[in-house]
């Protein structure tokens, strides 16, 4: 087997004293699209932030290309991993191009300026994500979907073998959502490793090559979507009754929640009281 791109062993994460997730071990190879799923508060974003080195870990080890996370200098790590965070607030009227150019930062010495080559690359990234016409427009004036595509262009401009996406589809309409997954798939086909936090299970089952399911304070399951997306595992992770149907025609999964009869009747009674 080829060398693991990301190697995580016995990882324990959390905030301060509070532990969110422990005993997480997994290794990811080149070209995989790995979706991290789990209910709210399961520690998906915390996991991503911790293995990127943005949060201190409570225990365990993380290494990239066989080298421990701690051994990387700030800039060196930024040439290995690009990270798209959940909410990016950009003020002061920065333009799309300004944002994308930030992706070239790790390649410059502190006294250097962006070269024309950097600029060309940034524009190519914007063209690829369909945002070239927004290059000179302040980011505060573009829509959520456009902003997300600009940020993906920034991540691409960083030219890293590993890409972390933290809930990249939140707040986007379904056309943009699927587009982001298509970008991820195309990048993985180029040999990049994509690790993303996902909420849309149906899209995850369609596009991800592998799923990490977080639940019950640990890594509950790790495997191909068909192995992980079982009623039993999902119900445990989401602490709800979940129904998984397989589409026999194109093998897509349909995942929905099911309500117990007891809960249904209680809700009906409450609704009657509210609406009467």
């Amino acid at each position: 087997m080829a060398q693991a791109v990301i190697q995580v062993a016995q990882l324990k994460i959390g905030y301060g004293e509070r532990c969110v997730l422990k005993d997480a071990s997994f290794s990811i190879g080149a070209g995989e699209i790995v979706g991290i799923i789990g209910c709210n508060g399961a520690g998906k974003s915390t996991l991503l932030k911790t293995i990127r080195g943005l949060l201190p870990k409570q225990g365990g080890s993380v290494s990239y290309f066989g080298k421990p996370l701690e051994a990387y200098a700030d800039k060196e790590l930024a040439t290995k991993i690009a990270y798209l965070q959940q909410h990016v607030e950009v003020g002061f009227g920065y333009t799309g191009k300004d944002i994308v150019m930030a992706g070239r930062y790790p390649y410059m010495k502190w006294w250097e300026r962006e070269s024309e080559e950097d600029e060309r690359l940034a524009l190519a990234c914007m063209e690829y994500t369909g945002t070239a016409d927004l290059a000179e427009r302040p980011v505060t004036e573009v829509s959520g979907g456009q902003k997300q595509r600009i940020l993906i262009a920034k991540v691409l401009a960083q030219q890293t073998p590993i890409i972390f996406l933290d809930e990249p589809t939140t707040g986007l309409d379904m056309v943009y959502q699927e587009e982001i997954f298509r970008f991820a798939k195309a990048l993985a086909a180029q040999g990049k490793t994509v690790l993303m936090v996902v909420h849309e299970l149906n899209l995850a089952s369609k596009y991800c090559s592998r799923i990490l399911l977080l639940g019950e304070g640990t890594l509950l399951a790790d495997g191909a979507p068909l192995e992980v997306f079982t009623e039993e595992l999902l119900s445990r992770a989401y602490k709800a009754d979940i129904c998984v149907e397989r589409d026999e025609v194109n093998h897509n999964l349909h995942i929905t929640t099911r309500m117990s009869e007891e809960a249904q009747s209680r809700e009906a009674a409450l609704l009657k009281r509210i609406c009467s």
């Binding site: 943005l54 950009v90 009227g93 920065y94």
Partner: protein, 344 residues
């Protein structure tokens, strides 16, 4: 590309305007000195081979060389320092309302000054009060940063709140000391509080020039990094920036530069807040253009306000700290009104 040329042209234009206002500042005032004589004083004093044949009265020489020139230079240094520090602070905190005064610098300087006056040190030499004020403001900034620091991070909101708290505490100390002072000392303090450029000598120029020019140079050098820092802590870390190091470094340089300027001229409001905003609206948010433009704009604004203050009710004078506030506050209110617009 277009933007870059536009930015450079704007900076050259600001520099030309600054020279123009500088000339204006040398020639206007109670004693009329024609421009040619003013230029001749400079040339002759600097030993340059121009205008050596122009005859000058003793009075003209004294007015230009010992009164107006140092006054103008102090104005330029202070204005430039306040302008660029304001732009840097707004960038460090990603907050358009951040101002050098906000993290306790002005309050610290005031406390330092009042201590110097109370101890009678202010009378012992021209530099005693600036030195006390400088120590006060540096202590205040250190205290603010120390209070706001959590696990190697400085949350912006905590820092600003800590700045307000430290400012209030020092304000109380200042007022406390003031209540025990006699009238003569009170007048001395008031005179310092309302920032001004009158009676600024070459000593003030020498005191301010070093820290201010070095500070401006360092800030200009790090302008590109500020563009990344403004995107927020996580975003900057994600592209490999050691955020804490840059934040602390820039904060320290901006604080020291501001503190130095407050020491030689007293509190001059609104330059650090208004000028960076004005420049950002005109030239965009790129700090590589914004920082030099803010330095030049600040110098220009301050020297211009000083000229205006000297002539508006001549022979009496409106001190420059009052002029900047009078011109600055309406503009600031206008900014607040349009805050929902895209600039912020």
């Amino acid at each position: 590309m277009l933007n870059k040329c536009y930015g450079k042209a704007a900076i050259i234009m600001l520099a030309c305007l600054l020279v123009l206002v500088g000339c204006l500042s040398l020639t206007i005032g109670q004693i009329d000195v024609p421009f040619q004589s003013a230029a001749a004083v400079l040339m002759q004093q600097l030993g340059l081979p121009f205008l050596q044949d122009v005859s000058l009265s003793k009075e003209q020489l004294a007015v230009i060389w010992y009164i107006r020139l140092p006054r103008m230079l102090v104005g330029m240094l202070v204005g430039g320092a306040l302008g660029i520090s304001g732009a840097v602070m707004q960038g460090i905190f990603s907050n358009p309302l951040a101002d050098p005064g906000l993290i306790g610098i002005s309050a610290g300087a005031a406390t330092g000054a009042v201590v110097a006056i109370a101890l009678g040190e202010a009378a012992s030499g021209m530099l005693a009060m600036p030195a006390f004020a400088l120590c006060g403001s540096i202590l205040a900034v250190c205290l603010t940063v120390f209070l706001a620091m959590r696990n190697g991070k400085i949350p912006v909101m905590t820092l600003l709140l800590a700045g307000v708290a430290v400012g209030m505490l020092l304000g109380a100390i200042t007022s406390g000391i003031l209540t025990f002072m006699n009238e003569q000392k009170l007048a001395q303090y008031l005179f310092w509080m309302v920032g001004g450029l009158d009676y600024r000598r070459w000593e003030h120029v020498y005191l301010a020039a070093g820290p201010v020019l070095v500070g401006i140079f360092i800030m200009l050098l790090l302008a590109r990094h500020l563009n990344i820092l403004v995107l927020g802590e996580t975003e900057a870390k994600a592209v490999g920036m050691p955020v804490l190091k840059f934040r602390m470094g820039l904060l320290f340089v901006a604080a020291l530069t501001t503190a130095t300027s407050v020491c030689v001229s007293g509190n001059i409001g609104f330059v650090g807040l208004v000028i960076p905003h004005m420049m950002r609206m005109l030239l965009g948010p790129d700090h590589r253009i914004l920082l030099p433009a803010s330095a030049l704009g600040g110098a220009l604004f301050l020297v211009f306000c000083d000229c205006l203050g000297r002539t508006i009710i001549a022979p009496a004078e409106v001190r420059v700290g009052i002029m900047t506030a009078i011109l600055g506050s309406p503009y600031f209110l206008y900014l607040l009104r349009r805050m929902h617009k895209s600039v912020f």
